[in-house]
Symmetry: D2
Subunit: 375 residues, 4 copies
């Protein structure tokens, strides 16, 4: 099976998330990395390309050179898809230019800096019919996908309670040691209008909409900074309203001392409750009235098909986050190649628009004194 | 050591919570149950008394008979303390009359129906100097007490994030099977202005103030009913503000399908984070930046003294909720007998006032459209 | 309901296990402690009795005085049952004299020092028809009882694998700090022929036979001492053969550094596997081919009746080891009073005989070079 | 960095373990699969090669064709290393021929069918100086490596107790449904002298020697078959003796109903105890006398260097078994390329010899009536 020719924007030496995407692509086995703009520093970019075994002629200085160079190649040689893993503020321009020149896009989140940018990308994707996959990584875990299938298939009944959490503690020592300046994620010019909600709260939001299919209609937020050294939120709670009378809550913090990536989601329906935790991703708990709790594990035939195809080892052999990324890359590959795929095999540009609305409305609600804002 | 002569209001045949109090009192070994008004049905009350081996002459038809009868006895024979375990709406009258006649009170929560009643009791307790212990059961667990000592001793640093949860699912089948009428806890005349927040949310609130010493200054709530068959809240989220800039959240539900008594509390400070869960009460997790998580267990000499005295078995032998109740009864006994005791060995009438303010303000915030209400 | 008049042998000031029995008896609410030989030091015994509110006339200097004194009382006043909580080497004499004088016995384990003594007690119990309850505490946990009912009811199919563990670490610092002399449990004159297997390995053995109904036919052991400062085993593994072809293993240690009371049992049948752990006693895991793992919790109606009656709180409210002891005391009370009770509500003199055979044969197997010894 | 040219023996269409090796190699990013003998059926082999994008000229019909073909290529084109993932009985011949022709070998376990074959391979490796990596997969997990470094660095003190378990249940339905004939792992001609101990017990054995550095001096085993439909062991316990007085135990089963890959290891030293479980590989528990249990997680700077380099994600992002395989492939790559690497970055031919001795001696001990056999 011929591999998809992939380029990468960003992701050069020392870039953690770029490496993660490349690992995912390699596990997926559907891609071949052949070109890129790996670094703002062209010398470092070339050094990286050599290390990765990438043709120096296809290592470009910037996005415009990249597009120009690739378009000069024959269609059978030219890259087909671009993985965008730059800092947040560059996502929009990169994605827009790639799409406009006919390249499929696999983009790290958050998709853009503003809602308007997000909607522009959505429009281009709609018009071009190109594949746009947004790396909301956690949707790649098999048991998150199992949740989606169970909920959307009606197994848990009417949804009565939605609760998601994403707690980290890594900003805590940065704030207390006075190292805020060193961290680009705390700089609004690079990261956008929000730190905590923009970087991790939005993952919790995405998981809720991804698994339940509910559409959040309005939010009320209460954000926190922990002192004055940071201009952006580091912590907060968001009340959620969905269609009809369903309510929920998102809790998120980057100063929850000692937490690492404690992302959890609990969805309670009239028939069943479902609970999942990112740090123990290979367990899904199914709760019901007056029956023992069930603990599901990947690799078992009792799962839904989307859960089954997302784990390749026999049951009891844990897979991890790189396999989750790979599952999304595989879904995108199927779409790029025109193969059949499940709804839910990769988050789309729509998830990106929803996420940007969430982030901006959450910030606005807090700024206005914790009032409801419609998405 | 002579035992404290105890009476019980309510708690007769079939009354779960009355039995729980009696077990706690027996484990404590500081009390002797000698009198009571065990049931509104006097015949059933007498039947119960006989079964428990209680003198029929001290089994009374109502609170007034009880007081009259006991006051006729000599001081050395007369009861000294009263355990109040009736439905909520009777707590106030019972407690008031007991205090006014010189009896110490150990009262099930919620303390009263209204804030005014709560404040009246507080005034009487202040004036009489009698012991008033409120059964916020979970404060009796050794590792909750350990949390209190660590936080109040400054070990976790400045508090940055407060998050407590109390999820149950038992109302779910009641709502969906149309059995709401059968449950007194869903009747506002008996239970008060709130179901979920009044019965369990208030436990989460109490644990927060008990462990941290923070005083909640205002609340913003979003409550939910799940259909129209119940007049009271069955689910909700409460945003909390404390002194200064500290924020928190309480999440509570009685329709979280399949949950039993999933009460959790997480307090993150600038130095350490602490996490505890009621269904696994014999573990306390201590989180810090860049160090392994520590898991503390009762019975170990590395605990604070209040934690140590609250567990009598060697480490690795689990104690449970009856021992938590017993710990509170023991604390109350020390106070009744004028012995030294730790601050925190039993919740007081002040906890009751705080709890009633919480419940009423949470209901008001929701009714007014999710706005901040000062406690 | 009239309480059973109980005496206690041992259990005075500072005696942990005596206190545990008394707590269990109080929770059970079926007993009244009225007499005893609480200490070898009569002054300390009297001091203890006063503290507990026990009649000084019924506080005796030794077992013979005790029997003489009690027999002089009327039948309606005389004690009915005796709780024996002395160091091991006194159990036999105490139990024998009590039984021979018509008193029911509730005895701490191990029952005796030798198999012969155990068989003598069995004979006396058979002849007198008196109740003899042996405190294999862990059989009092509701989910251990649930295991028994499921296995004996055939739900797990034919048993294919038996694995039990009891790991502690408390002897480790004693050995390494040279404090062996201070610990009576390491003195064979007081404790018997084995330390690790006699004190805790036998609990694992008892749980296996209690839950499965299998009879161990032979054992092969490999014991360990960790240096030469202790004359008895501190660690070991025992291979087990049951009727037919079923095999199993017991692993036990008192020098498993950092372990507290890590007793576990796993029974795998042809249809289901069951797993339980003493430090998390409120979970029972049920495993099957190709189905999610089920996690059972006490207080739920889906349990077997013996499991249901052994937990009084609603589900999600943990009970602990004192309630397990209380459950055994309650079972013994039913037997003493001639009430109906479940097979399995208390371990009997037969469990004691089995346990003594296990301990002695395990020691013999090791001494003979790890060979099979028939029980 | 130039990739190592890799061939694969076996691993064609439908071969689970071959796919796992290839994923590991891709994650490692140090290899390029360029040739192989993928299937005994040459047509299927070619179909597989096409699907994987492998040159049809380098897809060979058998090992001899493979060697002949590759040797005709220039050194810069010729494969450098071979991944052997055939059924067990072919490992030896494949490995021997590869080594004798100058190719490095990465071999699935068990290494051979007999001890003699294993020792022959060891001799060839010694003589040629080629790299031989044995895929004892679980040694690739970061926290297993952390255990190794802590134990070998003396942090846990003298080892006092060793306990490892590998429980699976997958053979259970096969035995009870009469499908034994269909499973090559139950056929001694293909799999060797043991099923349970040869396939999984040996992993537990390897983990013990890998982490502790102890050398097992003798074994005493008790194996089980569960009926007569299988000629090989499906379950068993092995007593272990190490140098000096240290003892241990391995428990393993393929009929532990409902277990998936429940491999655990617990090593107790005089100072610390360490516990790890394969199904929750991202936690390592460190136990000590009188201190809280510590829970270590990968990605943290508090780990030893070998632990740190074996996990690339930030802490709290779980990696899984494919990353463990990749870590071993990376270690082998360093050795192949003459780079520096840690002792322990891949299991060697010596682990293979030890494993074969273990398997054969365990079978012999059982056959002789559960007697000690020296390794």
């Amino acid at each position: 099976m011929e591999k998809i020719r992939l380029a990468q924007m960003g992701g050069g030496i020392g870039a953690f998330i770029g490496d993660a995407h490349r690992r995912g692509a390699r596990i997926s086995n559907r891609y071949e990395l052949v070109a890129g703009v790996f670094d703002v520093n062209f010398e470092r970019a070339k050094e990286f390309a050599q290390k990765e075994g990438i043709d120096s002629n296809r290592t470009y200085a910037d996005i415009d050179e990249f597009i120009k160079g690739e378009l000069q190649l024959s269609e059978s040689e030219r890259i087909e898809a671009v993985s965008i893993v730059t800092p947040n503020f560059l996502h929009y321009e990169m994605a827009k230019k790639c799409l406009e020149n006919g390249f499929h896009v696999i983009c790290e989140k958050p998709m853009t800096m503003t809602v308007e940018e997000a909607e522009t990308l959505q429009k281009i994707v709609d018009e071009t019919g190109l594949t746009f996959a947004l790396l909301h990584t956690y949707t790649g875990y098999p048991l998150v996908r199992q949740m989606r299938e169970m909920i959307r298939g009606g197994e848990i009944g009417e949804i009565q309670r939605v609760d998601a959490q994403y707690y980290q503690g890594w900003i805590n020592p940065i704030v207390h040691n006075g190292e805020v300046e060193k961290v680009w994620r705390l700089n609004s010019n690079v990261t956008g209008v929000s730190s905590c909600m923009g970087d991790i709260g939005v993952h919790a939001f995405n998981l809720i909409e991804y698994t339940t299919g509910l559409e959040t209609t309005k939010v009320l937020s209460d954000l926190n900074k922990i002192g004055n050294s940071v201009e952006l939120d580091l912590d907060g709670t968001v009340l959620l309203r969905f269609n009809a009378e369903t309510k929920g809550v998102i809790r998120s913090s980057q100063v929850a001392t000692g937490e690492e990536n404690n992302l959890t989601i609990a969805i309670y329906g009239s028939k069943l409750g479902l609970k999942w935790s990112q740090e123990d991703p290979n367990y899904l708990f199914v709760l019901s009235d007056n029956k023992p709790v069930e603990r599901l594990k990947p690799g078992n035939p009792y799962l839904k098909e989307l859960g089954i195809i997302s784990h390749t080892m026999p049951p009891g052999h844990p897979e991890g986050i790189y396999e989750a990324i790979a599952n999304i890359y595989t879904g995108a590959a199927k779409s790029i190649k025109g193969e059949e795929y499940f709804d839910g095999e990769f988050p789309t540009v729509l998830d990106g628009v929803r996420g940007m609305k969430f982030i901006h409305n959450v910030v606005e609600s807090n700024a206005k004194g914790n009032v409801w804002i419609s998405l």
